[in-house]
């Protein structure tokens, strides 16, 4: 399909008053190996799209290199959208003359990784760009668009980029994906939930006139953040609620703070007495509140709603996630 035709189709779609949405999930693991249960869950919940991270591009040894390259074990039924995550320092360090070459390499690598999967209609680039690198990043996007003539090129848009398009710039892509999460500073001791905080999120909404068609991503992940003496130390993604509720190991403070009662080694980390874990997750209540805010923001446009991300336990959260998707409809 001609790229301009696609944009036109998108435009038409955006004018339709039907509030229905397209459901999808992000897949952010290095191995695409969906279990039977995962597949059944995706079918049951009506997911049509799987946005799969193919690889990261990082800056190392004075060059941009792909890492964490996807290993495809089996093919999902859903339409796969390749996603490439690029760290901003790639564009901070990359010489302007290297941008075009990077676009070619990324394009080639996407095709290489994709050889076990079906043809794709869209590719997405995820980069937390800032004004200082926007020229190089946007040039990269335009060159990548040329590499994939006929496909939709989308880019993730963070909340501050969404609110301040004049400052941040608008990427030269066919559509954007508003990331409605990671809205706080996770390393801040006083923060309560850096993943999803509608009070904070609300401050970024309200303009409703971003100059690109937009899809939306909502979070559904959890992590624990380790603070030692009030200072952020690291992200600990593996702690379960069962572990955190072990009263011998932890003293619970408030809603989501867990303080180590002893020195211990877990997950290859030496935790000390007094270390604090702030457990952050996304409750159904907060997610539904987010949907309310976002519905006002996007009006009645038909959009694609993605959940970040598909994890082992996601399949056990059918009711919660179905409620979130349904709330858009």
């Amino acid at each position: 399909m001609n790229r301009y035709l696609l944009i036109f189709v998108l435009f038409l779609v955006s004018c339709v008053e039907d509030p229905s949405i397209e459901r999808g999930f992000y897949h952010w693991k290095q191995e695409l190996d969906l279990t039977k249960e995962d597949k059944a869950f995706l079918n049951d919940i009506g997911a049509e799209y799987l946005y799969v991270k193919y690889f990261d591009v990082i800056w190392k040894d004075d060059q941009a290199i792909p890492v964490s390259i996807l290993n495809v074990k089996n093919k999902p039924k859903q339409e796969v959208v390749p996603v490439v995550f690029i760290t901003p320092d790639v564009f901070s360090n990359l010489d302007s003359s290297g941008v075009e070459d990077l676009a070619k390499k990324v394009g080639k690598k996407i095709r290489d990784v994709n050889h076990k999967l079906s043809n794709f209609e869209e590719i997405q680039i995820d980069c937390d760009w800032m004004p200082s690198i926007k020229d190089k990043y946007f040039y990269f996007l335009s060159k990548l668009g040329q590499e994939f003539e006929g496909s939709i090129l989308s880019a993730t848009i963070r909340l501050y980029q969404y609110k301040y398009p004049d400052l941040a710039g608008v990427p030269p892509v066919d559509k954007g994906l508003l990331m409605y999460y990671n809205m706080g500073d996770f390393s801040e001791y006083r923060e309560r939930n850096s993943i999803l905080n509608n009070k904070t999120g609300k401050q970024y909404l309200g303009s409703g006139d971003y100059p690109l068609p937009m899809d939306i991503a909502l979070p559904n992940f959890r992590w624990s953040l380790l603070f030692r003496q009030g200072n952020f130390k690291q992200i600990c993604p593996n702690f379960t609620e069962t572990q955190l509720n072990d009263q011998e190991l932890f003293t619970k403070m408030g809603n989501n703070k867990f303080i180590f009662n002893m020195d211990t080694v877990m997950y290859d980390t030496y935790f000390r007495y007094g270390d604090e874990l702030r457990y952050e997750s996304c409750s159904e209540e907060e997610l539904l509140l987010a949907v309310d805010l976002l519905k006002k923001e996007i009006g009645s446009e038909k959009i694609r709603v993605l959940i970040y991300d598909l994890q082992n336990e996601t399949k056990d959260e059918y009711e919660k996630l179905d409620a979130v998707f349904s709330a858009f409809e």
């Binding site: 080639k108 003496q229 130390k233 020195d263 211990t264 080694v265 980390t269 000390r272 007094g274």
Partner: protein, 762 residues
């Protein structure tokens, strides 16, 4: 504030930048404190597994590309005819087109016809290496076809080779090629029947074992073989570390396969390496199996480095172990810090006890290391006699320069910690101790870094004793590897760290002592040496000396010191020496400023420090004189002068050297700087002497600024949730009641010209 908090805030503030910076902050191994060399038991190949707060220790000491264990084999093979650097360049950088081999003796000899069979082997090995290379972007894949094609050549060369050294190496190449081409049967065959049966002692046997182990589906067998590789090849340690489980229960099956206690010890060692916490029980278990193990030695050093991090990093640097610290909530965590400190102290004693038991029982290979470790750990626990005892034992058993170097370091630290003198005898001993440490510098891991940490430890010792002069002199020696942590800028700015230390701590009495020693004619050689670092900062420190008196409001003494500084110093803006006078002193310090510190425009001309003091003295003299009308004006100008050199004024640079929107506590008292009390006294005087109600109201309006500053300053000492600023509002009400005709007009600048000139009217 207790001593620890005092130290903490001291170090946090030891820069010209704000204490709690919102930008870059040192972290991880940049701040980890260590005085015990990590490389005492081995070469550099295993350095990734030295203790680090990061996943791996990434600091590699030697300059070679290849692993030391293989370079050493080649060195021996050539009978010492070529140095390691020459061999390294030719073997490990041979394919690099940018390398210049014109001076490489090995290359030249081969070109001249020597070692042709070796040259042929190296060409082959380089060819295989090239075929194995992959490009990140898949522009070049591994050349499997090429590898298959070249395999017969390797087999043929292996059969033909008469030199067992080269025969083994060709066999190893076949194992590698077979591994990557997926022929695991060939891997097993060549590994077992050719590599392992070679009569050559070589690390390649273990490299080959690594490939063979990775073809096995039996996980226990694989881990068992990997443990053998780990025990015999340091350069593969990193890979094996990653492949191994960290749970001791997961290696039960592996232990069953071990044929000896030595093998069991190796398995348990890898698991112990994976323990980021307290591992002394594992060390004891390994020692019971094989006290002679080199891995045990490395584990002991690793344990000491861990304890240094937990026990020393916070103590010496103010940063929590292995983390960066902004310490917003320091007080709230004091209990946790103290409890962990006590618990670490008890653990340290336990490690000492276990180490002694192991060392006494005999069987440890490197007794020099074990006694040196015991000496150092006793030093950590402030046990002088035990430190001394084990240092003497260590002396007897030290058999490497690495160990001798660490003994010298511990002896230096011991000397400083347990001495309370600064006489000539002590200085001579200290100089000799420092020189001895320096002599072993080439044998100490990251010596620049470690030496700087030693100097910091010495500096802090004097600081704890409140001898700021010696603390500053040794702080100026902290340079090289840790400059980013304790100072800002380049190595040349190490003397500036002494300035920081004094600026944040010293009173005029401390600086009197510094200059008394500096100006002493018969300085000892050590004193001469130490002062060299301060020489480039002489005027800056002299300024600080005068400023210390200025801060104490002793204007006469301050002026006398300032006047020894050449006038040109006040006019320069030299970032290298942190002289910002001309740039910073660009406001009129006598200006009345009702509003913010940045209100108003820069003045065309202002005052140098001595000029400013002279003018203050003149105004004070005038104020004490007989005139009537001007008294209020002069008092107000003095109020302005004191206000403007305070935290909220327009010319803080007269008494401070940095300004931040957040400023923590300094050990020296700065209340007057934040609460504007000195200015308040003169504004009150201006109100008293005011010739009319308007000027009195104006003087009162200026007092309100001081009162507001004092309230803000006091409230900042209160818990965040309990702060109460309502008194500021009340002060405004009092103002409105006292001067009802003027208060309203003095809420903005509209009538400023009228009120500021009202002193002229009767």
């Amino acid at each position: 504030m207790n001593m620890k908090n005092w130290m903490l805030s001291l170090v946090l503030l030891s820069s010209t930048f704000p204490a709690i910076s919102c930008s870059w902050w040192p972290s991880g191994d940049e701040i980890r404190f260590s005085l015990f060399s990590s490389s005492l038991a081995d070469g550099d190949d295993i350095s990734p597994l030295y203790y680090s707060v990061h996943f791996f220790n990434d600091y590699k000491v030697d300059e070679y590309t290849g692993p030391a264990e293989n370079l050493q084999e080649w060195y021996n093979y050539f009978g010492g005819a070529y140095d390691i650097a020459t061999i390294d360049q030719f073997i490990y950088r041979g394919r690099d087109k940018n390398q210049d081999f014109s001076n490489n003796k090995l290359f030249l000899d081969m070109r001249g016809g020597k070692y042709l069979d070796v040259a042929k082997y190296l060409v082959f090995a380089h060819t295989v290496e090239g075929m194995l290379e992959v490009d990140y972007w898949s522009d070049k894949e591994m050349d499997l076809e090429g590898l298959r094609n070249i395999l017969p050549q390797a087999e043929s060369e292996m059969q033909k080779a008469t030199d067992p050294y080269l025969k083994l190496r060709y066999a190893y190449q076949i194992v590698v090629i077979s591994y990557y081409t997926g022929d695991y049967a060939a891997v097993a065959n060549y590994h077992k029947n050719h590599v392992m049966k070679s009569n050559q002692e070589s690390v390649l046997k273990y490299w080959s074992m690594l490939y063979y182990a990775n073809t096995l589906s039996d996980s226990d067998e694989r881990l068992y073989l990997l443990s053998k590789v780990f025990d015999n090849s340091k350069s593969k340690a990193r890979f094996i570390y990653q492949a191994y489980p960290s749970d001791p229960a997961a290696v039960k099956g592996v232990l069953k396969k071990c044929a000896s206690n030595e093998e069991k010890g190796a398995v348990l060692s890898i698991v112990a390496f994976k323990n980021p916490g307290r591992a002394i029980d594992q060390i004891k278990e390994i020692a019971d199996l094989n006290a002679n193990s080199e891995l045990l030695d490395i584990l002991l050093i690793r344990e000491i480095n861990k304890m240094e991090d937990w026990y020393f990093t916070d103590y010496y640097t103010g940063f929590g172990s292995g983390i960066y610290s902004g310490c917003w909530e320091c007080d709230a965590f004091e209990f946790v810090r103290d409890k962990n400190f006590q618990s670490d102290k008890e653990y340290l004693q336990k490690v000492i006890d276990v180490t002694e038991q192991i060392a006494e029982k005999g069987g440890v290979k490197n007794r020099g290391l074990w006694f040196t470790s015991l000496a150092y750990m006793n030093y950590m626990l402030n046990k002088g006699d035990r430190t001394d005892l084990f240092l003497r034992l260590a002396d007897k058993h030290a058999d490497t320069d690495e160990i001798r170097g660490q003994i010298a370091i511990t002896r230096l630290l011991h000397l400083v910690k347990f001495s309370d003198k600064w006489d000539e005898k002590f200085q001579k001993e200290l100089t000799m101790a420092i020189n001895k440490v320096d002599r072993y510098g080439d044998h100490i891991y990251r010596f620049d870094h470690l030496r700087s940490q030693i100097m910091l430890a010495v500096s802090r010792k004097f600081m704890y004793e409140e001898n700021l002069v010696l603390a500053a002199l040794f702080e100026a020696q902290v340079k090289g590897g840790v400059i980013e942590t304790y100072g800002w800028g380049s190595e040349e700015s190490s003397g500036y760290q002494a300035f920081d230390l004094l600026n944040e701590n010293a009173t005029s009495a401390d600086l009197d002592k510094l200059f008394e020693l500096w100006n002493k004619k018969d300085k000892t050689p050590l004193e001469e040496e130490l002062f060299k670092e301060l020489e480039p900062y002489k005027w800056r420190l002299t300024d600080l000396w005068g400023t210390a008196y200025f801060r104490e409001d002793d204007l006469g003494k301050a002026l006398k010191i300032y006047e020894t500084i050449p006038d040109s110093v006040w006019r320069v803006e030299d970032w290298r020496f942190h002289y910002y006078y001309a740039g910073e002193l660009d406001n009129d310090p006598f200006e009345s400023n009702m509003f913010g510190r940045s209100y108003g425009e820069a003045a065309e001309e202002t005052y140098t420090k001595p000029e400013f003091i002279k003018e203050i003295i003149r105004l004070k003299t005038e104020l004490d004189g007989p005139m009537v009308k001007e008294k209020a004006y002069y008092a107000l100008l003095l109020g302005n002068a004191y206000y403007n050199m305070s935290y909220n004024g327009n010319s803080y640079y007269y008494t401070e050297y940095s300004w931040s929107s957040y400023e923590g506590e300094y050990p020296r008292k700065r209340d007057y700087y934040f609460n504007s009390s000195r200015a308040l006294a003169y504004y009150e005087m201006a109100e008293t002497y005011a010739p009319n109600d308007a000027y009195a109201a104006f003087a009162y309006r200026m007092q309100l600024k001081c009162k507001r500053d004092a309230i803000n300053y006091e409230q900042e000492k209160v818990d965040y949730d309990k702060r109460n600023y309502s008194q500021i509002e009340k002060e405004w009400q009092i103002f409105a009641e006292k001067y009802p005709k003027h208060a309203g007009k003095l809420t903005n600048c509209d009538h400023f010209a009228y009120y500021s000139n009202a002193w002229r009217e009767g």
